[in-house]
Assembly symmetry: C2
Homo-oligomer: 153 residues x 2
Protein backbone atom coordinates (compact mmCIF):
# COMPACT_ATOMS: atom_id res chain seq x y z
CA UNK A 1 0.00 0.00 0.00
CA UNK A 2 1.27 3.40 -1.04
CA UNK A 3 2.06 5.58 2.01
CA UNK A 4 0.61 8.58 0.20
CA UNK A 5 -2.77 7.04 1.04
CA UNK A 6 -2.29 7.61 4.75
CA UNK A 7 -2.32 11.40 5.02
CA UNK A 8 -5.58 11.95 3.10
CA UNK A 9 -7.39 9.61 5.53
CA UNK A 10 -5.60 11.10 8.56
CA UNK A 11 -6.47 14.66 7.54
CA UNK A 12 -10.02 13.73 6.53
CA UNK A 13 -10.58 12.26 9.99
CA UNK A 14 -9.37 15.44 11.70
CA UNK A 15 -11.55 17.59 9.39
CA UNK A 16 -14.71 15.52 9.73
CA UNK A 17 -14.52 15.08 13.53
CA UNK A 18 -13.89 18.82 13.84
CA UNK A 19 -16.67 19.81 11.43
CA UNK A 20 -19.27 17.27 12.58
CA UNK A 21 -18.59 17.07 16.30
CA UNK A 22 -16.58 20.24 17.09
CA UNK A 23 -13.92 17.96 18.60
CA UNK A 24 -10.15 18.18 18.06
CA UNK A 25 -8.79 14.76 17.07
CA UNK A 26 -5.04 14.46 17.63
CA UNK A 27 -3.41 11.75 15.49
CA UNK A 28 -0.78 9.43 16.92
CA UNK A 29 1.85 7.74 14.79
CA UNK A 30 0.34 5.50 12.08
CA UNK A 31 1.56 1.90 12.23
CA UNK A 32 1.12 -1.36 10.37
CA UNK A 33 -1.43 -3.43 12.26
CA UNK A 34 -0.34 -6.88 13.37
CA UNK A 35 -3.14 -9.01 14.77
CA UNK A 36 -6.43 -7.62 16.04
CA UNK A 37 -5.35 -4.77 18.23
CA UNK A 38 -8.26 -2.44 17.53
CA UNK A 39 -10.96 -3.46 19.96
CA UNK A 40 -14.02 -1.26 20.29
CA UNK A 41 -17.73 -1.07 20.97
CA UNK A 42 -18.98 0.66 17.82
CA UNK A 43 -17.32 0.78 14.39
CA UNK A 44 -18.10 2.25 11.01
CA UNK A 45 -16.79 0.43 7.93
CA UNK A 46 -16.90 1.44 4.28
CA UNK A 47 -15.64 -0.40 1.22
CA UNK A 48 -13.68 1.43 -1.49
CA UNK A 49 -13.20 0.39 -5.13
CA UNK A 50 -11.80 1.85 -8.34
CA UNK A 51 -8.08 2.25 -9.09
CA UNK A 52 -7.51 0.25 -5.89
CA UNK A 53 -9.71 -1.85 -3.60
CA UNK A 54 -9.79 -1.27 0.11
CA UNK A 55 -11.68 -0.54 3.28
CA UNK A 56 -11.76 2.21 5.87
CA UNK A 57 -12.87 1.57 9.43
CA UNK A 58 -13.26 3.82 12.44
CA UNK A 59 -13.67 2.24 15.88
CA UNK A 60 -14.82 3.91 19.10
CA UNK A 61 -15.21 2.77 22.68
CA UNK A 62 -18.72 3.34 24.02
CA UNK A 63 -17.41 6.06 26.37
CA UNK A 64 -15.61 7.96 23.60
CA UNK A 65 -18.50 7.92 21.10
CA UNK A 66 -20.96 8.96 23.83
CA UNK A 67 -18.72 11.90 24.76
CA UNK A 68 -18.03 12.91 21.14
CA UNK A 69 -21.69 12.75 20.12
CA UNK A 70 -22.84 14.51 23.30
CA UNK A 71 -20.51 17.33 22.28
CA UNK A 72 -21.84 17.19 18.70
CA UNK A 73 -25.54 17.11 19.57
CA UNK A 74 -25.45 19.29 22.68
CA UNK A 75 -27.31 16.68 24.75
CA UNK A 76 -26.16 13.74 26.85
CA UNK A 77 -25.90 10.56 24.77
CA UNK A 78 -26.02 7.34 26.77
CA UNK A 79 -25.87 3.95 25.10
CA UNK A 80 -25.38 2.95 21.46
CA UNK A 81 -28.76 3.53 19.87
CA UNK A 82 -29.98 4.17 16.31
CA UNK A 83 -28.95 7.85 16.42
CA UNK A 84 -25.41 6.86 17.43
CA UNK A 85 -25.18 4.25 14.67
CA UNK A 86 -26.46 6.75 12.09
CA UNK A 87 -23.90 9.34 13.25
CA UNK A 88 -21.04 6.81 13.07
CA UNK A 89 -22.18 5.80 9.58
CA UNK A 90 -22.29 9.45 8.50
CA UNK A 91 -18.83 10.16 9.99
CA UNK A 92 -17.45 7.10 8.13
CA UNK A 93 -19.04 8.23 4.88
CA UNK A 94 -17.70 11.76 5.21
CA UNK A 95 -14.13 10.65 6.02
CA UNK A 96 -14.20 8.36 2.98
CA UNK A 97 -15.56 11.18 0.81
CA UNK A 98 -13.03 13.78 1.99
CA UNK A 99 -10.07 11.38 1.58
CA UNK A 100 -11.23 10.22 -1.86
CA UNK A 101 -11.57 13.82 -3.01
CA UNK A 102 -7.92 14.49 -2.07
CA UNK A 103 -6.76 11.20 -3.64
CA UNK A 104 -8.62 12.03 -6.86
CA UNK A 105 -6.54 15.23 -7.06
CA UNK A 106 -3.49 12.92 -6.91
CA UNK A 107 -4.92 10.97 -9.85
CA UNK A 108 -6.52 8.06 -7.98
CA UNK A 109 -10.14 7.48 -8.94
CA UNK A 110 -12.00 5.75 -6.10
CA UNK A 111 -15.67 5.00 -5.37
CA UNK A 112 -17.27 4.10 -2.06
CA UNK A 113 -19.90 1.56 -1.07
CA UNK A 114 -22.47 2.33 1.66
CA UNK A 115 -21.26 2.35 5.27
CA UNK A 116 -21.96 -0.45 7.73
CA UNK A 117 -22.01 0.09 11.49
CA UNK A 118 -21.10 -2.67 13.94
CA UNK A 119 -22.06 -2.49 17.58
CA UNK A 120 -21.07 -4.97 20.26
CA UNK A 121 -18.80 -4.84 23.31
CA UNK A 122 -15.12 -5.46 22.51
CA UNK A 123 -15.45 -6.51 18.90
CA UNK A 124 -12.39 -6.70 16.66
CA UNK A 125 -12.01 -5.88 12.98
CA UNK A 126 -9.80 -7.69 10.48
CA UNK A 127 -9.34 -6.38 6.93
CA UNK A 128 -8.84 -9.42 4.70
CA UNK A 129 -6.30 -8.47 2.05
CA UNK A 130 -2.80 -9.26 0.89
CA UNK A 131 -2.02 -5.59 1.53
CA UNK A 132 -1.10 -4.21 4.97
CA UNK A 133 -3.60 -2.54 7.29
CA UNK A 134 -2.49 0.89 8.49
CA UNK A 135 -3.81 1.86 11.91
CA UNK A 136 -3.99 5.51 13.00
CA UNK A 137 -4.74 6.05 16.70
CA UNK A 138 -6.44 9.33 17.61
CA UNK A 139 -6.76 11.04 20.98
CA UNK A 140 -9.46 13.56 21.89
CA UNK A 141 -10.45 15.29 25.12
CA UNK A 142 -13.40 12.89 25.03
CA UNK A 143 -11.36 9.68 24.72
CA UNK A 144 -9.47 7.82 21.99
CA UNK A 145 -10.61 6.20 18.75
CA UNK A 146 -8.91 4.27 15.94
CA UNK A 147 -8.95 4.60 12.17
CA UNK A 148 -7.77 1.74 9.96
CA UNK A 149 -7.15 1.80 6.23
CA UNK A 150 -6.36 -1.24 4.12
CA UNK A 151 -5.75 -1.33 0.37
CA UNK A 152 -5.04 -4.36 -1.79
CA UNK A 153 -1.95 -2.77 -3.42
CA UNK B 1 -33.92 -2.06 -3.93
CA UNK B 2 -34.82 -4.21 -6.87
CA UNK B 3 -36.05 -7.66 -5.76
CA UNK B 4 -34.11 -9.23 -8.66
CA UNK B 5 -31.01 -8.60 -6.50
CA UNK B 6 -32.12 -11.11 -3.89
CA UNK B 7 -31.93 -14.40 -5.79
CA UNK B 8 -28.36 -13.96 -7.08
CA UNK B 9 -27.14 -13.49 -3.48
CA UNK B 10 -29.34 -16.30 -2.17
CA UNK B 11 -28.12 -18.73 -4.83
CA UNK B 12 -24.50 -17.59 -4.50
CA UNK B 13 -24.64 -18.33 -0.77
CA UNK B 14 -25.95 -21.85 -1.38
CA UNK B 15 -23.29 -22.46 -4.07
CA UNK B 16 -20.35 -21.11 -2.07
CA UNK B 17 -21.23 -22.85 1.21
CA UNK B 18 -21.71 -26.09 -0.73
CA UNK B 19 -18.50 -25.72 -2.75
CA UNK B 20 -16.28 -24.40 0.04
CA UNK B 21 -17.61 -26.28 3.07
CA UNK B 22 -19.56 -29.22 1.59
CA UNK B 23 -22.56 -28.03 3.62
CA UNK B 24 -26.15 -27.70 2.38
CA UNK B 25 -27.51 -24.25 3.27
CA UNK B 26 -31.31 -24.12 3.23
CA UNK B 27 -32.68 -20.60 2.72
CA UNK B 28 -35.64 -19.32 4.71
CA UNK B 29 -37.95 -16.59 3.46
CA UNK B 30 -36.10 -13.31 2.77
CA UNK B 31 -37.54 -10.35 4.67
CA UNK B 32 -36.96 -6.64 5.07
CA UNK B 33 -34.88 -6.12 8.19
CA UNK B 34 -36.33 -3.82 10.84
CA UNK B 35 -33.93 -2.98 13.65
CA UNK B 36 -30.84 -5.02 14.49
CA UNK B 37 -32.14 -8.54 14.50
CA UNK B 38 -29.01 -10.24 13.12
CA UNK B 39 -26.85 -10.90 16.14
CA UNK B 40 -23.79 -13.07 15.72
CA UNK B 41 -20.24 -13.80 16.81
CA UNK B 42 -18.37 -13.54 13.51
CA UNK B 43 -19.40 -11.64 10.36
CA UNK B 44 -17.96 -11.03 6.93
CA UNK B 45 -18.81 -7.73 5.23
CA UNK B 46 -18.01 -6.53 1.72
CA UNK B 47 -18.81 -3.23 0.05
CA UNK B 48 -20.16 -3.13 -3.52
CA UNK B 49 -20.05 -0.21 -5.98
CA UNK B 50 -20.79 0.44 -9.64
CA UNK B 51 -24.27 0.73 -11.13
CA UNK B 52 -25.52 0.63 -7.52
CA UNK B 53 -23.86 0.98 -4.10
CA UNK B 54 -24.41 -1.59 -1.41
CA UNK B 55 -23.07 -4.05 1.10
CA UNK B 56 -23.29 -7.78 1.68
CA UNK B 57 -22.86 -9.29 5.12
CA UNK B 58 -22.90 -12.87 6.38
CA UNK B 59 -23.17 -13.49 10.12
CA UNK B 60 -22.51 -16.74 12.01
CA UNK B 61 -22.81 -17.80 15.62
CA UNK B 62 -19.57 -19.21 16.99
CA UNK B 63 -21.12 -22.70 17.17
CA UNK B 64 -22.30 -22.63 13.54
CA UNK B 65 -19.02 -21.37 12.04
CA UNK B 66 -17.03 -23.87 14.11
CA UNK B 67 -19.21 -26.71 12.84
CA UNK B 68 -19.22 -25.50 9.21
CA UNK B 69 -15.45 -24.99 9.10
CA UNK B 70 -14.77 -28.26 10.90
CA UNK B 71 -16.73 -29.92 8.11
CA UNK B 72 -14.82 -27.89 5.50
CA UNK B 73 -11.34 -28.50 6.91
CA UNK B 74 -11.86 -32.04 8.20
CA UNK B 75 -10.53 -31.13 11.65
CA UNK B 76 -12.19 -29.81 14.81
CA UNK B 77 -12.26 -25.99 14.85
CA UNK B 78 -12.66 -24.45 18.28
CA UNK B 79 -12.69 -20.69 18.80
CA UNK B 80 -12.59 -17.83 16.30
CA UNK B 81 -8.95 -17.59 15.27
CA UNK B 82 -7.11 -16.19 12.24
CA UNK B 83 -7.95 -19.25 10.10
CA UNK B 84 -11.65 -18.80 10.86
CA UNK B 85 -11.53 -15.09 10.04
CA UNK B 86 -9.69 -15.80 6.76
CA UNK B 87 -12.27 -18.45 5.82
CA UNK B 88 -15.18 -16.10 6.59
CA UNK B 89 -13.49 -13.38 4.50
CA UNK B 90 -13.02 -15.81 1.63
CA UNK B 91 -16.64 -17.05 1.83
CA UNK B 92 -17.83 -13.39 1.80
CA UNK B 93 -15.64 -12.59 -1.20
CA UNK B 94 -16.83 -15.64 -3.13
CA UNK B 95 -20.54 -14.98 -2.47
CA UNK B 96 -20.06 -11.39 -3.66
CA UNK B 97 -18.20 -12.60 -6.76
CA UNK B 98 -20.75 -15.26 -7.70
CA UNK B 99 -23.71 -12.88 -7.20
CA UNK B 100 -22.03 -10.08 -9.14
CA UNK B 101 -21.31 -12.45 -12.04
CA UNK B 102 -25.02 -13.31 -12.27
CA UNK B 103 -26.06 -9.66 -11.91
CA UNK B 104 -23.62 -8.66 -14.68
CA UNK B 105 -25.46 -11.08 -16.97
CA UNK B 106 -28.61 -9.09 -16.11
CA UNK B 107 -26.79 -5.90 -17.18
CA UNK B 108 -25.71 -4.62 -13.74
CA UNK B 109 -22.01 -3.80 -13.57
CA UNK B 110 -20.77 -4.05 -9.97
CA UNK B 111 -17.33 -4.03 -8.31
CA UNK B 112 -16.39 -5.23 -4.83
CA UNK B 113 -14.10 -3.83 -2.16
CA UNK B 114 -12.02 -6.11 0.08
CA UNK B 115 -13.83 -8.08 2.78
CA UNK B 116 -13.73 -7.17 6.46
CA UNK B 117 -14.33 -9.69 9.22
CA UNK B 118 -15.79 -8.74 12.59
CA UNK B 119 -15.47 -10.97 15.61
CA UNK B 120 -17.06 -10.35 18.98
CA UNK B 121 -19.80 -12.03 20.99
CA UNK B 122 -23.31 -10.88 20.06
CA UNK B 123 -22.41 -8.01 17.76
CA UNK B 124 -25.04 -6.45 15.52
CA UNK B 125 -24.73 -5.05 12.01
CA UNK B 126 -26.56 -2.04 10.60
CA UNK B 127 -26.32 -1.11 6.93
CA UNK B 128 -26.59 2.68 6.71
CA UNK B 129 -28.56 3.49 3.57
CA UNK B 130 -31.84 4.98 2.45
CA UNK B 131 -32.52 1.61 0.79
CA UNK B 132 -33.97 -1.39 2.67
CA UNK B 133 -31.82 -4.19 4.07
CA UNK B 134 -32.95 -7.64 2.93
CA UNK B 135 -32.19 -10.44 5.39
CA UNK B 136 -32.00 -14.06 4.27
CA UNK B 137 -31.90 -16.61 7.10
CA UNK B 138 -30.20 -19.94 6.31
CA UNK B 139 -30.39 -23.23 8.16
CA UNK B 140 -27.76 -25.98 7.97
CA UNK B 141 -27.24 -29.28 9.79
CA UNK B 142 -24.44 -27.39 11.58
CA UNK B 143 -26.58 -24.45 12.75
CA UNK B 144 -28.07 -21.29 11.23
CA UNK B 145 -26.47 -18.20 9.70
CA UNK B 146 -27.76 -14.95 8.21
CA UNK B 147 -27.05 -13.13 4.98
CA UNK B 148 -27.97 -9.46 4.57
CA UNK B 149 -27.92 -7.40 1.39
CA UNK B 150 -28.48 -3.66 1.23
CA UNK B 151 -28.43 -1.46 -1.87
CA UNK B 152 -28.93 2.29 -2.06
CA UNK B 153 -31.58 2.06 -4.83
Amino acid sequence: MDVTYINPFLNATINVIKTMAFVDARPGKPYIKKGDTAVGDVSGIIGITGDNEGTLSITFSQASIEAILSNMLGETISGINEDVRDAVGEITNMISGDARRVLSELGLKLSAAIPTVISGKNHTITHISSGPTIAIPFATDHGPFNVEVCFAH
